[in-house]
Each structure stands twice: as structure tokens, then as C-alpha cells.
């Protein structure tokens, strides 16, 4: 059963198209990931699905309700953990949860039960009566995840749930998300630009780049699509010549260039390395390093987009966003 059906949804900000006719379905009970660099359109997509932004084109149904028409019904069935903090810091953790429950019209008895339940899940029982301004970043995140669950949403959206957290806290948050997924009552849709996060948590992953959906499958299937090992060759010069020459070789399944690297997908990579070095020499290309690794989601991403997620991080769109945020402060 599909609980989210997205049909050719698009969003323009002035002349800039942030999301370009994306379509996908999310099955009930699964953990679904939108993976892509910053500025790819993940958050914009989430904002449209959660009724915070109106799509320019297209639409979607969430828990069976149209995001363009039945916004209040959509809102009743979803929970959101936003990318940026969204707590009232002048209230205690307990009060933040209580207010949330009241905003969702949950009666007193059930409210108390649910609050106790989520506080236990995110291990904040002993901090409940402390003002949120004294919480650490990880505690705030956990409180927000707990809050998103109080009204028992059918679908919980997590927008970059671990961004800006230290590795240890990130592990913790992953554990909570795993725990939640195992309970099976909630469909989880998360966005991330951390490859390992998507790989570890998601049943299915969609790659988003420049507002487009470029691939969608289980992490395993995506990795298998590359069908072999990746030999990553770094070149001092002659990268274009070598790329042209290698293209015609049958034993190279895929060939992708990013920065001064050529990534080749081959079977039994370790045996092919000498041959690659020989060919490079023959065509006058200077190799500065060679690496071999078994495929990861990152490689699949490079395969589909021709770049790593990290490369995109310092892009113009991103710095524009940062400047805008700074200005608003």
C-alpha cells in the first residue's frame, strides 16, 4: 500500500526551479530516504508534502489526502522534525510536548500517557522540566523527534535529522529512528546528504539532484546496478584522452569523471589495475593515484550525477542560502 503518492510535483522560486517534476511513491511502514547534496530540493519537497509550501505544479496525496486541497487532513496525519530547531526555548521540554499535544487536540489522559512514552523513547525523562534553552543540540533533536511522535502520525518526516550533530549523538539518533521503524506504526520519510545515513537507515533511497529525481531503489539494488568494483584513478594530466580511449573497452561497465578522477566499474578490479596503468602510459596520461573499492551508495550517486555529494557542498546555491540566512539574522 502506498501512503504517499507524489505526482510530477514542481516548485519555482522566481526563475529558479528548486524541484523539477518529481514523482515517487512511499509504501506504508517503510523508511524512505531522499538523498542529495544541499540545495538539491529535498527540503523544498518535504515542505510541499507537509503543506508548508504550495507546489507551483503537480501534486501529491499524503495518507490519502490531497496536499493542495485537504491541507488540514494532511496536517492531522503527519509529524515533522524540521531541519532547523523549532522548539520554544523559553518553555521546558515537558511544556513543549504538552503544547504540541494540545495543538493536536489530544485529551489530558492520553496526553500524559503519550508524553511519558515518548520521553522514555528519547531518554529525556530526567530533563523534562528543564528549560529547553539549557538543552544540548542532541537533546533538542531528540525532544523534537519525540514531539513529532506524540500525536501518533501515520507518517513522520525527518528533514536532515542529524545535521550538525557530533558522531556519537548521530549514532544515538539513528538508534531511535531504527527503534521507531521496528515498531512499525509509522512510515518514515527522511532527507539527508549523508550517504551512510541513507544506507544504514533506509529501505529505499531516492537520489535527488538539481531538483530532479535521478534514481530510486533499495540501497542494495542501487549498489548492484553498478555491477562490480570501482577503480578510482586520479590523473595529473590526460584525463580526457584516457576517458575517450577507455570508453570503447568492453570490460569497463561504467565510466564517470569527477574533478581529476576517473571512476571505472569493473569485475575483479584488483586484476584490472595493471592494465589500466599500462593504458594510461600508452596514451600519455599521468596517474597520480589509484584506488579500489567495493561499491558504496556514494559511487552509485556519482554514477548517476557525475559528482560526489561533497563536491556540491560549496556550490553557489548553497552559499546563497547561507548568505540569506545570515542576512535574516
Amino acid at each position: 500500500m502506498n501512503t504517499v503518492v507524489v505526482k510530477k510535483i514542481a516548485k519555482d522560486f522566481g526563475k529558479f526551479r528548486a524541484v523539477d517534476k518529481i514523482s515517487f511513491n512511499v509504501k506504508e511502514g517503510e523508511v524512505f530516504g531522499l538523498l542529495g547534496p544541499n540545495g538539491a530540493g529535498k527540503t523544498t519537497t518535504i515542505k510541499m508534502l507537509t503543506t508548508l509550501l504550495q507546489p507551483t505544479q503537480g501534486g501529491a496525496t499524503v495518507a490519502g489526502f490531497d496536499i493542495n486541497k485537504d491541507q488540514n487532513d494532511v496536517r492531522k496525519n503527519i509529524g515533522i522534525v524540521f531541519q532547523d530547531p523549532s522548539l520554544d526555548e523559553d518553555l521546558t521540554g515537558m511544556e513543549n510536548l504538552q503544547f504540541h499535544a494540545i495543538l493536536y487536540k489530544i485529551g489530558k489522559e492520553k496526553r500524559e500517557k503519550k508524553i511519558a512514552e515518548v520521553l522514555k523513547l528519547v531518554e529525556l525523562e530526567d530533563k523534562a522540566d528543564v528549560l529547553v534553552r539549557y538543552y544540548s543540540g542532541g537533546m533538542k533533536r531528540r525532544l523534537e523527534i519525540g514531539r513529532g511522535l506524540i500525536h501518533e502520525p501515520k507518517i513522520l518526516f525527518l528533514d536532515e535529522p542529524t545535521v550538525g550533530l557530533d558522531p556519537q549523538t548521530r549514532r544515538h539518533i539513528w538508534d531511535y529512528i531504527k527503534k521507531l521503524a521496528a515498531l512499525g506504526n509509522t512510515t518514515l520519510i527522511l532527507t539527508t546528504h549523508y550517504i551512510e545515513e541513507a544506507d544504514y537507515l533506509c529501505n529505499r533511497v531516492a537520489f535527488v539532484d538539481h531538483g530532479k529525481l535521478v534514481a530510486l531503489d533499495t540501497p542494495e539494488a542501487l549498489k548492484n546496478k553498478l555491477g562490480g568494483d570501482v577503480v578510482s584513478v586520479q590523473l595529473g594530466r590526460g584525463i580526457d584522452i584516457l576517458q575517450k580511449r577507455l570508453k570503447s573497452l568492453k570490460w569497463i561497465k561504467t565510466l564517470a569523471k569527477h574533478e581529476d578522477f576517473l571512476d571505472l566499474t569493473v569485475n575483479e578490479g584488483e586484476k584490472r589495475i595493471p592494465e589500466i596503468i599500462m593504458l594510461a602510459e600508452k596514451y600519455g596520461a599521468a596517474i597520480s593515484s589509484v584506488g579500489l573499492h567495493k561499491p558504496s551508495l556514494e559511487d552509485v550517486f556519482i554514477h548517476y550525477t557525475g559528482k560526489t555529494i561533497r563536491e556540491e557542498e560549496g556550490s553557489a546555491m548553497d552559499s546563497m542560502r547561507q548568505r540569506r540566512t545570515a542576512w535574516r539574522r
Binding site: D73, I80, F82, S86, L87, D90
Partner: protein
């Protein structure tokens, strides 16, 4: 209308008000200075023609009006803070109508503004303000609430339209000063040229302060019922405008 949302936003403002003691004291400083400097100091040299009461009794309702005006418009900046800290998104994504959210904020901000004004009245009483107790005295609370309602509506509208703090401050000072001085808060409208008087008569604060004067001292320019009607209308209009502006606001 969603009663739960109205209640929770009201309660939130109240809790924050009680916790922010330094802010309460800060907010009381200006009215106290006005009571002392303008009311008792300068006021001892002033006699308003055609009245028997002291200038102090005349200006206290005006200073209450000022307190309400300033705190109410300031309340609008809470929208900016909520946007800044992301809490606005949390509210906007809940299944509650925008009108209930606006009403909850008006009631919350209104309650705290009225509580502050009652503190100002208490201080004025200590300084010699004479209340003439009548059946209308209790209406003073109603007038305070309506003045707060009107200008919180204005504050929320500005807060919804303006996204940055400097801009908000600039625009609100552009509103507050004329609204305060071009009402009959510190002098009766009749001493000014006719053209300026018209401006004063379309300023809701004029009727709010006049209503307070009627309720607290028993004298006023208009009938207390005209004051009441004017304030009910202005509050309703500002509520509608604020709801419209707020429903257009983005979470940021």
C-alpha cells in the same frame, strides 16, 4: 475556530510573561517616567481649560494608552522571534486555522498587556491619581483589552509582513510615535488646528484613551458608548487584517 490552539497560545504568552520578570520591570520604566516627568512634574504647571480636575488625572489614562500601544505593537515582534527560532513552523503545520492562531496570540498578548496596565494604574494611584468609582469603572478593563486587541492586530500584521528585526523596529517606530502623539492622550484634541484634529479622530487610540478617561475619571470628549463602539470596530477590523496577513506569512 480551534479552542485548543487559542488556549495553548494564550497560556504560552502568560507563562513567558511570568518568567520574564526583567522584561516586566523594563516595560514599566517608561510609563513610570512619564507619570513622574510629564504627569507630576510638567503637569503641575498645566491646567486644561474647561476642566476642574488636575492634569495628572487627565494624563494617566493617556499613559495607560501609551503602555498598551507600545507593549501591543511589540507583541507583534514575537512572530519574528518565532520565525527566527523555528517555532512558527511548528505552529503552522498543526491542523489549526490561522484565525485561531491569531486570536490566541491577541488574547495572550492582550492579557499580559492588561496586566501591565493594571500595574501602571496601581502605581498612578500611589502617586495620587483619583479614580471616581462608578458603574462604568469596570469598563476600563474592557477598553484596555480592546486597545490591546487593536494594536496587537497591527503588530501581528507588521510582524507577518516584515521579516527582519531592524525593518520591524523602523516601521513600528514610524507607527507608534504618531499614534501616541496624535491621539488625545497627553492633550485634548481641541487645542490643535482643525486639520490635525481629523487625524486624531480617525486614530483608534483616541477613543481607547477617551473611553478609559470616561471609565476612570468620569469625564471625556465623547460618550463612553461611542468610544466602546469605535474600539470594538477597530479591534474587529485589525483582527481581520492580521489574520489575512498571517495566513500569507511563510515559515522562513
Amino acid at each position: 475556530m480551534d479552542a485548543n490552539a487559542i488556549y495553548v497560545l494564550w497560556l504560552r504568552d502568560l507563562k513567558r510573561f511570568v518568567r520574564a520578570r526583567s522584561r516586566i520591570i523594563g516595560m514599566l520604566m517608561m510609563p513610570i517616567i512619564f507619570l513622574l516627568g510629564l504627569g507630576l512634574g510638567l503637569g503641575s504647571l498645566i491646567h486644561i481649560p474647561g476642566t476642574t480636575g488636575s492634569y495628572f488625572d487627565f494624563i494617566v489614562p493617556g499613559i495607560i494608552g501609551m503602555t498598551l500601544l507600545f507593549t501591543s505593537i511589540f507583541t507583534g515582534s514575537n512572530v519574528l522571534w518565532d520565525r527566527q527560532f523555528g517555532f512558527l513552523k511548528e505552529i503552522l503545520v498543526t491542523p489549526n486555522s490561522r484565525a485561531s492562531i491569531v486570536l490566541g496570540r491577541i488574547l495572550g498578548g492582550g492579557t499580559t498587556a492588561v496586566l501591565q496596565s493594571i500595574l501602571v494604574i496601581a502605581i498612578a494611584l500611589l502617586l495620587g491619581f483619583q479614580i471616581s468609582l462608578t458603574g462604568y469603572t469596570i469598563l476600563a478593563v474592557v477598553f484596555m483589552a480592546l486597545v490591546a486587541g487593536t494594536f496587537i492586530g497591527l503588530g501581528l500584521t507588521l510582524g507577518s509582513l516584515i521579516n527582519d528585526f531592524q525593518g520591524f523596529q523602523l516601521v513600528t517606530s514610524f507607527f507608534t510615535m504618531p499614534l501616541f502623539f496624535l491621539s488625545d492622550s497627553i492633550f485634548p484634541a481641541t487645542v490643535l488646528p482643525k486639520a490635525v484634529q481629523y487625524i486624531i479622530y480617525i486614530n483608534p487610540l483616541t477613543y481607547g484613551v477617551d473611553g478609559l478617561r470616561n471609565a476612570l475619571t468620569g469625564t471625556g470628549t465623547f460618550s463612553i458608548w461611542i468610544d466602546l463602539l469605535a474600539m470594538v470596530v477597530s479591534t474587529a477590523v485589525m483582527f481581520a487584517i492580521a489574520t489575512y496577513a498571517f495566513s500569507k506569512t511563510q515559515s522562513g
